[in-house]
Structure formats: structure tokens, C-alpha cells
Symmetry: D2
Subunit: 366 residues, 4 copies
């Protein structure tokens, strides 16, 4: 590791922390990684055997805080409610913070308190926290001290609806319906019988039907893009795979926008917004295989498939139209630990320190 | 096999045919199974090695037709468009027919022709065909000559929405949104690279976003139950598992029905409709584990999980309420080849010949 | 449940206990099931949601012991070392015991103590304990009070080598090599991070390379069949599936037996021992699909595949010959919780109480 | 792509070709990739949707051959028997060839003909072909025109046994037993019902029990290392995962080498041969987590797990000792498409063109 950047990872025993370390180990501008945890009894490679050989070892959280002034960026991969206690001290010592938890995603502490059912201990930091969908806030990141990485579902849905929101298609037509299936790294890492491999294999586990916390996060940020209130009805489940989110989104098209809608036209709009083959937003790729004449495109190839983004920072989008019911269908796939968490965090770091978005993040899915 | 019933299975090389044979082999009242196919070159056990030992062998389709008069029931597991050509001759020879395809599901041939893009060759049979959700048509089955087994998605959604439809909750409030994930036995059995194990593993494959054919089937039959038109917006995908459907359904509650809604109240309604622990509809089980004080019920146990019905004829239902968005959430899980196809077909046969629904079908999931 | 038999299941919260309850619920001669556990705080259906609807509830272990005299058979599904403390009291109260643990598998307590590293507290019961591979001890079971169900690997390997052992082919030629992959229900049900779904997905986990405990069990019982000492070198791993064992066994053929060896001849020998299509041992099926002319038999169909026995009490066997290296290859697949544990235990119970082996156990794999 | 190297990939529609393109797209010294196929009707991204965005398109095989003189290296990912027809012309035109098939792995054409049942059409090239286990032939690669990439099983086993072979431990003690489970990308990409996802899910498929072709390849090259004949008895199966090989190897220790054997001593020997944490062979990592005091090392962490190398060029090795049976157990895991094929091929290319082994290949497993 010969790069100039020194970075810390708090909460490095979890899956997001593991993925951050993995990405940072392959990042050409990173010269030092400090993986910190409260419990440092086990060796790093025993906790993360996929990183055997890296030579990394855990340091105690306190030691990282002590050294914070010498670190360019510190990533926080801690449960909701812990980051708001850590960030002030880290910032005071002069490092910059990318928080992967929900603690700094809501400018209004009251909203945070309602959704997460706890008071916010650092409301004074909320005004400066940048909600880090890189594609939307690229200009603000170079100056940012504190970045709130969005929720994994939120990234997949915001990128999926951006072209529609910007054109006023979310309008006042009512609700957006999101059905999203997440891998088991999206569940708690705490071992329980429900998450024992033998109980999950071949199954699917719906959860949070009473309203997922990311619904509120989406309503806030989607509402801003749409220029008005948007209801987001979410149905979530864990699938029996380790990584990835498949989000299927339906939007009822307001009557005034129904003319001329077609799959082809919608795909063209998305390509217009995001570009083709990395010509625009590097990490957002619109599935236009049908348009390209891929012989198989009528079949499953016509839509994004989950496995094509696992292990990467890419988001694949597909869009279609059900003319009989006047709904637009959007499919958005990301890796919940990649673009949905660690990848996105590194992308934000890149822009914060003046690098291109893509540094260290171009890998395609195996 | 010592039972009195003699049954035929047309299209016995496919997965629905395999599952029918499996269920019929364990059925105490079945004495003879005639598995028929157009291609009889391979031995039965080579095509269905899970049934090694059964002693069954394929007969040619023509031979089955010849013997049809001696068979009590013939099941048709053939692609859409083929059953309508076979049923008249089979009925003429005096057997009864349970068709697992879509050919006899629409009383109006024009609707069939619109959805399946082909003319209907036996429209004269449509008036007598019974749409076979056993739970809804139990009284009509003993006299039925021709039963149209519903689509797999349709069974899962109809059972999931029945209590709401019967109480007028689907009303004119707008659309029902269905997101359903089906196993790969729900896809074509024709080998393609898209369905090669290596391409599906760890993935999810969205499909038919332009409108799944079962949307129309659902709109027809749900509309009847609801007493008025219902739009059904479906998003479908294949998950990387062989069997099972997880359907997650959202229903916007009309303002006049919003008072007093709660998960507890909804669960009570569903239990009122379907009974508890087989006290009502044997194969429809409402997940009320939270109510029973299962310590883990707050977690995944609070909702039906897919694996709990795979290999069975059961449908597990769970219901919840998102109060912030006034929507009811329903989860319905079935085995697409069990209750969604072969199990349901055997259940229909049971009632047709005067047996209890449950004969040969009580097995729980491994 | 209208049968005459009353049975108890101790350790009913685990996976073997779950499968026993599932099988007993479908058993036509069982009239009462008493699932017992030390911890009865959760409802039965919350622990075993696949059995929702059964109406079973846990009773405390002490309550089962009190009632033991009224039970025909009690199954013990407890960790090694616990059954030997429970069995004496249960037997004293007049019930019969089928123990699924290792406690009564070794006639010589010293061998048990060496392998399991603890003293045996009930050595006086060892002489009467019947080592319950049903196919080998059918005559002794009607009189047995105490049956020691064999280890799951042991059943798969013993059935796979029986025809060779009986013909003297294991001879003094040296070692038998067993490579066996077991599902994650074969691992501990105790939740750990190693067994969290996200860590196991897409992986394989070798374990016990220093010598699996079942090696000793196999050497003892295989040695008896072979009439002389046999070394069993085992390599074991968990695969990323919930249920099933694939055992691949290689046997070096002594020079005096090498003439005339061929796949065809070996398959014929196995068919001679076990019969074809349930004509001999009902639950042991020899894969002879190549012989039957299944067109696909040259490919994977030529050998047993794991999925064909999951959820069942069947063992599928395949046998082949590598002429260049003079080894016989045997493939044996079972369900580790079925024929490898609960299925086998019910099969033993059947013979103990005078029923055919097959009662309640004929189901084929979904 | 700004590097200096221009490379061709023949057979770019398959999985090895896909992985090669993926690795080359991330290789900092590669400036042009020419993916060639006989069938160029489908777009590259439709065949390889994981590489959507790369901008690659197929060229016809003939066009690649025409341009061969301008390419630094051409990789052949074609079925056994095709490469020997292509290599002479490619070499004549002045490019260098890395062949991933079996065609140039055997110096003696008679051996090739015996194992692959076809005559060798280019025996004149065999003497110069370098059998490309990079770790063994690093010195010969800079001058090599033609490299024969080893079989995927062969790489995993050779790396696993190298330290034992070099110390004479394979001796004349008899056979080496290899049990190896490969993902379904290791099977044919040709769609068949046997490989349809629905048939493979939750299963394992043994194959080639009559003797895998890689046995002969191993016997040849292992024999050279061991300095005498070695029998390699292989048992192979496909597991229900897309990528990766788990090889479990047992070696009977000759009596004269049994003293002082222990897991600790063996691990030290392997570390001595391969180094620790990339200090020696970068891509061969010895699992010494127990030694490092990883608290979990007694459990599954003590051995290599498959998922830790999928998507990478790493080989993880673990070694243990069963003292009761005097056998050494070796576990070797690789990605069959990575270190087992495309990764290894790129590693060879690196050394051929004067780069460090590791260029473009350092990524750890997600």
C-alpha cells in the first residue's frame, strides 16, 4: 500500500466494515487502513478470512480516536444511534467522517427521533451533513466534513426513480410502491436461529411489513427531487443469498403523462439521464440490451439481474411499461454492501479528496 | 397401489407432471397412474430420478387417450394452447379433466384470446369449466366434468386477499400491488443459458414487467369477489430456488375503512375466515405466532417464510398494517408446484370424486 | 391422529426432533406425540413454523418422563452424553427408547470413552442396545428395549459398502476412503457467525479433518461386516444446503478380485443385494438408469444426485469402477435428517412394534 | 484502457472467456482486448451482462487470426481438441498463445491420445509448450511462446501437495485420494435439463467416477515432482454453486515419515514453502488462523472455506493430520474460473511479458 491516504474504519468486524477494508486494500491512493473495533480479541483474518494475507489487524476504537487527527477520512460502520456519539470527537480532532448509519441522514432531528425512536444527541451537526448519493451531491463533497451515507434500499430506489422525479412523473399521482429483496448481509450479523443457514436456505423472509425505516428516508429525499410529497410503500424481504438488492418499483403514471409511453421511450430517457457505457454516470448502467439487438433480450436478459452487480459499485437499471394499467416499472439492482454501503462510501471519499469517483471502484462482477 | 381410482397425467415429463405423479403415488385411494407423454424414449426414472423405485413408465399420449374411458380423472400438464385441443376428446370418452393450463380459466373466449394471443378452439366448453380454487368452489366440484386449475400466482393472491375482498376492502380504492417471487420450476423447463444453474445461482431474474398474464386472470376473479373492477399491478421475478412463491401484496385502504385497523385486528379477521390449526380451511394457515407468544415472533417468525410450505399443499398467510401509509400488507406463500399446481389439482380431484380435500395431501414441509 | 401408538420426542426443539414430529404427524398408526424440551417458553409453531397447524405444543422434559410408562416409544434427540443419563429412567418406567445420539452405539464403553472423551455412565445398558441399521438388524428389533440409531454418515456408508463387505471385497486391501458432504442441519443448531447464512452461502466448510468421530463408528461396524479390521479415512465438509449427505467412497480392490470388474457387473451385484424398485430393501435403491436405457444416463443421471432423496427415508446408491487404478467408487446419498436420523428412527420403531418398515415413510422427494 | 498490451480471447462467449475479459478490463497494462467467437450475432453485453458498460463487442474468430501478429498474447478458451488446430497459425503470425484447454498439457502425444481419445494434430509443438503452474515455471515463461494452462483441479491439487511432494512424502506409499467439488461453471455451458437451475438447486451431482481426465494430468505432473509414480484416485462432483473448487486430499504417510507429524508442524512446513501474508508465493495462502489465536479457529475457521477465494486468483491451503490413521489431510480451495483458469492465465501472461505476477490480480473475494 503506497498511496497517500490514511483512513480509519470503525466497526470493522461487521460486513460493511469488511467490504470497506476489501475495497480500500485495492485502492491505489490508500496508504494506510486502520480497522478499529471495541473487541480486538480475534485476529483480523479469523474474522475476515477472505482478507487472509492482507496483514491488517484490528486496533481498539480508542486508539483510532487518538490517531484521528492523522487520518484523512474515518468511516463509521456502527449501529444506528452510535455514530452521533462518535462523530463530534472525530471531527474535533480534524478528520473527516463518512457515516454509514442513519444518524445524519435527516436534517430535522424530530424526523430522526420519530423514525428511530431515540433522541438525537448531536443535532448541531445535522445542517452540515451531506446526504451522500454521490451522483446528486458531487459538488458539495469536496468541502464536506461529514457525509451521511444513504440507506442501501434508498440508493437503489433513488437512482431508479431519479429520471422520473426530475421530469415530474412522480407528481401527485399517489404512491410509489417498492418491493425490494435484500441479501442476508442486509440482516443483522448477530447470529440467531432465524438466520442460521439451515433456516434460510431455499427460503425467503419478509420483514418490517409495518413500515421499513427506509420508507421515511425515501419519502424525504424523493420528495425533494419530485418537488412535493411522495408516499413510498415498501415491502421488503430477505432472499437466500448473501449480497445484493433487487428493487422492483411501480409508479402510477398521472393521466397527463400517459401519451407516448413505451419501454423504448422510457429506456431512452434513462439513457439520456445516465449515459450509455460509462459515458455519463459511471456507476449507473441502463439495461438497453433489447435495443442493442441481443438475441436473448426478449427473455431474462431484457432486465437487470441481481448477480451482475454483486461485488461491485454498479447499479443496473431497467425500465418498462404496463400499458393496460398505466404503470411504469423500474428494476434497480445493486450490491447492498457495495453501491449500497461500502462502495458508495469510498466513492464519496474519492470525491471528497479530489479523486475521480471511479478510483479503486471499477471492478465488474465475477 | 391398492386404491380404486385410475388417473392419467398428460405432460408427465415436466415438473408439474412429476409432482402430480409424486402426490398420486402417495395417495391412498389411487390404484393406477398412467403418465403420458409424446416422447417416451427415456425411462420414467431417468427423467424423474426422485421417483426411482416407483415402477412407473411413460405411455404414449395416444395410448392414454384410447384408455381415457377407463380413467376416473385425467390431468393435463401441457403448455397453454394445447389443452383446449385435447379436452373435448377426453370428455367425449367419458373421463373427467383437470387442466393445469390457462385454456379454460376465462369464461369469455375473447378475454383468453386477448391475453394469450391465440383463438380459442373449444369455446363451447368454457361455460361448464369450473375455476378450481377448491376453497371457493367446493360445492360445484362433485358435478364438474372439466376443472380449470388456476395459475400459481393467482392461487396465492386470491387466498391472500379473500378476507379483504369479502369485506369490501378492495373497493374502489384503486390498485392492488402484487410482488411475487417464484422458483425456477415456475420458468420454462426448456434448457436455456439464462436458466443454466451457473447463470441463476445467487441471482434474481425479473420478468414480464410489461404485464404478467396472471394479472388479467386475477383481475377477473378478484373483481368477482370484490364485486367491482380491481386493477392488479404485478411485479414478478424468479428467485434462485427451485420451488415456491412468495407473494407480497399491498392494498391501499379506502378512508372509510381505516379506523381500528391493526395487525392484531387483521390477523383476527383472517383467522375468522380461515380458522386456526386446520379448524377451517385445512390448507390455509394464518401465521399468528406473535399472538401465540412465540418469543421470536417479533422477528422473521412474525411472517410466513417460503420454506415452510415447499413440498406441500399449504398456503401460509400473514397480514400487517403500515399505519403511516394506510396500507394493508399481505404475505402469501405456497409451493408453486404444490398448492400452486399439482397439489391443488389433487385437492380438486378429491372433492370431485367424493373424498375429503385432504386425502393424500396432509404432508408438512421437510 | 387416530393411531394406537403414543410416542415421545425428547429434544424436540432441534432439527432431528422437528423431523421426527413431522414424520410422526403423517404416520397412520401414531395417535399421540409428546414433544418434550427443557425450554418450553416458545410455542411449538414458532420454533417449527413448517408444522404450523399441527396443534402440537412442547411439554417439559420432566412431564414426559413422568408419563413415560404410558408411551410406547421415546425418541432421544439430545447431544452426545445426555442420552445415557436419561435412558435408564425411561426404560425403568416401561417405555422403549430409540436414541439418536452416539451414547449407545459402542458395545465397549472404553471405545466410547476414547472417541467421545467422557466416561460412560450407563455401561450396563450397552450389551442390550441394538445398533439400528434396520436393514441389518430387523430380526432383533421386535424384542429390543433400547435402539442406538447410527450416525448419519455411518448409515450412508454402511449401506453403500454392504454388498462389498459381504463379498469380502474390503478385505485386507487397506483403507476405505470416504468423502462426505453434509447439509448445515448436520452442523450445530447453535447460532454462530460461522453458520450465519451470509457466511455459508456459496461456500463449503471442511471440518474435523483430524478424524471425524464417525470414522471410529464405521470402523467398528464395517469391520464386523468385513470380518476384519478396516481403516476408514474420512474427509467431511458442510455444503451450502440445508439437508442431505453425499458420500463418495473409494475402495482399492485387492488383486485377487480384480478380474471381471465393471460398472455393469457391480451394479448387478448391488441390485442382487438390494433388489430393484422396492423388490428387496424398500429404502435402498440402486441407480441403474444407464442399464434401463435412460437416454441421459451417460451424463449426471448415471449417478445418484443428492436432491432425489432430500425429505425422504431413501438411500440411493450408485457404483462404478476406475479400471486404471483398480478402485471401486460408490456414491451413497441420503437425507441426513431422514434416513440419517429421524426416518431411520421411525423405521426402527415400525419394526419394534410389529409394523412393516415402510409405514408412514414411503414419501418420495419433492 | 491505456496500457500497452493488446490481447485476444478466443472462445469469448464462454465462462472462462468472460472471466478473462473481466480480469483484462481491470488490468492496468492492457490497452486492447479482442474477444473473438465463431458466433457474433449477439451483443457482448447480452451474453455477459456483468460486463455491461465495458464497450467490448465480439469480433469473428477469423478477424482475430488476421490481426494475430499485432497482438501480444492470445488466450484460447475452446473445447479440448480445437486449440491444437488454432495454435500453429497463431504462433506463425507472431503472437504468443496461452491455451486453457488440455491440448498442450502432455509432452507425450500418446498420453494425450489415450486420455482424450483423439489423435494430436500438432505434436511438433508439444516439446516447447510450458505447463503453466506459474509458481513452478516462473523462469521459463519469459521465453515461452506457448503455455498450456493446467486443468482447474490440477492447479488446486498440485499447489496443495507441492510441499509434501518436494519432501518425498508422496513416496511409494501408494495412492493420493482427491475429492473435489466444483461449481457449475465447471460443467458444460451447453444448456441441458440436468444443468437447469431447478434440477441442480439444493443438490450435488457426482460425475466421471470411472476416472476423471485430470487424474492422468495429475499423475504425470505430480509424479515429476515426487520423483516417481503416483496414483491419483479422484472423486468429483458438482456442487450447487456457480464457482469454486474445494479439493480435499488425503495422503497416507509412509511409516518412515510418521514421527513428529502434527497439524502444527505441517502448517509450519507449508508456511515455510509458501510464506505468510504474501511474503512468498503471493497467491498461495496457508490458513494458519489457529496459530494466530483467532478465537474461532477451533471451528470452521481452522480450514479454508470455499467462498473466501471465489472471484479471486488466490489458493487457500489448510493441512491437518489424522494420527489414528496416519494420513495427512490437505484442503485446497480456488476459484475454478480464477486461479483454476482465467486468473492463472493472466498470471502467466504477466510473467511472459515481464510484469510481476500480481499485476491486475490482487483483488480479494467479496
Amino acid at each position: 500500500m503506497t498511496g497517500r491516504l490514511r483512513v480509519g474504519v470503525v466497526g470493522a468486524t461487521g460486513w460493511a466494515g469488511r467490504e470497506l477494508c476489501r475495497l480500500l486494500l485495492g485502492h491505489p491512493e490508500v496508504g494506510e487502513i486502520v480497522p478499529a473495533a471495541r473487541d480486538t480479541t480475534r485476529s483480523f483474518a479469523a474474522v475476515h478470512p477472505n482478507l487472509l494475507g492482507s496483514g491488517l489487524e484490528f486496533v481498539h476504537l480508542d486508539a483510532l480516536v487518538e490517531r484521528a487527527g492523522a487520518l484523512d477520512v474515518v468511516f463509521l460502520c456502527v449501529p444506528a444511534g452510535e455514530a452521533m456519539g462518535m462523530a463530534p470527537e472525530l471531527l474535533r480532532r480534524g478528520t473527516r467522517v463518512v457515516d454509514l448509519s442513519a444518524d445524519f441522514r435527516f436534517p430535522d432531528p424530530a424526523l430522526y427521533e420519530r423514525i428511530y425512536a431515540r433522541p438525537h444527541s448531536s443535532p448541531e451537526l445535522l445542517p452540515e451533513a451531506v446526504f451522500g448519493v454521490t451522483e446528486l451531491v458531487r459538488d458539495r463533497l469536496p468541502e464536506a466534513r461529514l457525509v451521511a451515507n444513504p440507506g442501501c434500499y434508498v440508493i437503489s430506489v433513488l437512482l431508479g426513480l431519479l429520471p422520473l422525479a426530475e421530469e415530474g412523473l412522480l407528481g401527485s399521482a399517489g404512491s410509489v410502491h417498492v418491493h425490494a429483496v435484500n441479501g442476508t448481509t442486509g440482516a443483522s450479523a448477530k447470529p440467531t436461529r432465524d438466520l442460521h443457514h439451515a433456516e434460510v436456505f431455499g427460503s425467503m423472509l419478509p420483514y418490517s411489513l409495518e413500515g421499513h425505516r427506509h420508507s421515511g428516508e425515501l419519502e424525504l429525499h424523493l420528495g425533494r427531487l419530485a418537488g412535493g410529497p411522495v408516499d413510498v410503500v415498501m415491502s421488503t424481504a430477505h432472499g437466500a443469498f448473501a449480497r445484493g438488492i433487487l428493487a422492483q418499483i411501480t409508479v402510477l403514471v398521472p393521466p397527463e403523462h400517459r401519451d407516448g409511453l413505451s419501454r423504448e421511450a422510457l429506456t431512452a430517457r434513462y439513457l439520456g439521464r445516465y449515459g450509455s457505457d460509462h459515458s455519463g454516470e459511471h456507476f449507473v448502467l441502463v439495461n438497453d440490451l433489447e435495443k442493442r439487438g441481443g438475441a436473448n433480450a426478449k427473455e431474462y436478459g431484457a432486465y437487470p439481474r441481481l448477480s451482475n452487480v454483486v461485488g461491485t459499485n454498479y447499479c443496473h437499471l431497467g425500465v418498462d411499461h404496463d400499458p393496460a394499467r398505466s404503470v411504469i416499472k423500474v428494476v434497480s439492482v445493486i450490491d447492498n454492501l457495495g453501491k449500497g454501503a461500502a462502495g458508495s462510501a469510498v466513492q464519496n471519499m474519492n470525491v471528497m479528496v479530489g479523486l475521480p469517483d471511479t478510483t479503486g471502484l471499477r471492478a465488474y462482477a465475477p
